[in-house]
Symmetry: C2
Subunit: 193 residues, 2 copies
DNA sequence: CTTTTTATTGATTGACGAGTCAACAAAAAG
DNA sequence: CTTTTTGTTGACTCGTCAATCAATAAAAAG
């Protein structure tokens, strides 16, 4: 009983299923069948709407990055001072939407994908550039020409805490992770020059 | 023409080949045949000396961690003051041996392996604990009860810079990466309480 | 010498997975 | 109504790969 206009629905379902499956399985070794089953359709249909497995992966990455970007953007509009803006970026990075274990696990695997897939690499590089650029921009009025280094360290620590999260030894706490980065921000602002 | 006492030689060759192959390919999707070929033997022989693929991976991880640990240890014996010791750990982390692109790429993939393999997870957790413990111990005399947070931040930044390295956009520079972490150390020590 | 132990591989098996295709169903267009 | 477009799948192909095994060869032990 084919209903019309299924394409966007199916694509969205597949993208979500892909992130969930990669996250749940903790690996890129997920079959198209698994993804399709999780999205409630046959693997043939998945191949029909996307060209192949890699295209599905890339769409899932784009979606993840978009969600992340939206969270950051949403937090930024409510911030006024430069310091508030930096804080907003940090908080958004560890917000409930982005810092869920499956999502973090998916991120890790996207880094792996980027090792072999130029498209994936491009996407991650863009994300990195944006994050640093955001931080640098708002740090400039706060610490002047130390902004570059500070942005690099804050961004690096964010990535590092994500990585740590993938080992999932303790219960995930975005709040705690954010606190670590905010402490670093304090340090950067307290500096005696 | 079988020479005797080949076992340790073959095992070592396989371990090295595994790291190289994972690094070169940027993925855990390396076949036993590829590893064996790189190590100059048949895949059957690889299976003979190790139980299976996972055992080969775990041996490669152990080796990587051992090499890293040795580098840190070697740097520590030449350091005297607490600050020198922290600096030594940081420098060793980004030393020429550990910060080669293939090795960093292998590290990334070991994190992925740890998502599904409990043994691999255990190994990485031990590495994390050791690194933090080392840092905490030497930071204590420098910053007192702020040592815990400082160690967490420094360790996190190290991991984050490793992660960044895997995207390999620019030429890898362990020196530059180390400089970032040393700058953070400066901040931690300059703090006004 | 024979027998055992160690080293080694080509060939094979068995499983699994990406991608294709023919065929069927229903809605929209004509 | 017919035809075309859109949605959907089961079955199949083709390739790959981990793991096994039988067979060969040389050294060591007896």
């Amino acid at each position: 009983m084919p209903k019309l206009g299924m394409e966007p629905i199916r694509r969205a379902a597949l993208v979500k299923a892909t992130i969930d499956e990669i996250g749940a399985q903790g690996s890129l070794d997920v079959t198209v069948s698994q993804i399709a089953r999780r999205a409630g359709m046959s693997s043939a249909l998945a191949h029909h709407y996307f060209g192949g497995k890699e295209d599905i992966f890339l769409a899932a990455m784009r979606h993840t990055l978009t969600v992340y970007g939206a969270a950051v953007h949403g937090a930024l509009v409510m911030a006024t001072t430069p310091r508030d803006r930096v804080t907003a970026v940090i908080r958004a990075s560890f917000g409930a939407v982005n810092f869920r274990p499956e999502v973090v696990s998916a991120w890790l695997n996207f880094y792996v994908l980027a090792q072999t897939n130029p498209q994936a690499q491009r996407l991650l590089v863009i994300y990195q550039k944006r994050l640093r650029s955001n931080l640098r921009h708002d740090l400039r009025p706060l610490v002047g020409d130390r902004a570059d280094g500070a942005a690099e360290r804050i961004a690096g620590l964010i990535d590092g805490l994500y990585l740590r999260q993938t080992l999932g030894t303790r219960v995930p706490s975005g709040t705690r992770a954010a606190a670590h980065v905010l402490a670093l921000l304090d340090l950067e602002l307290q500096v005696v020059t």
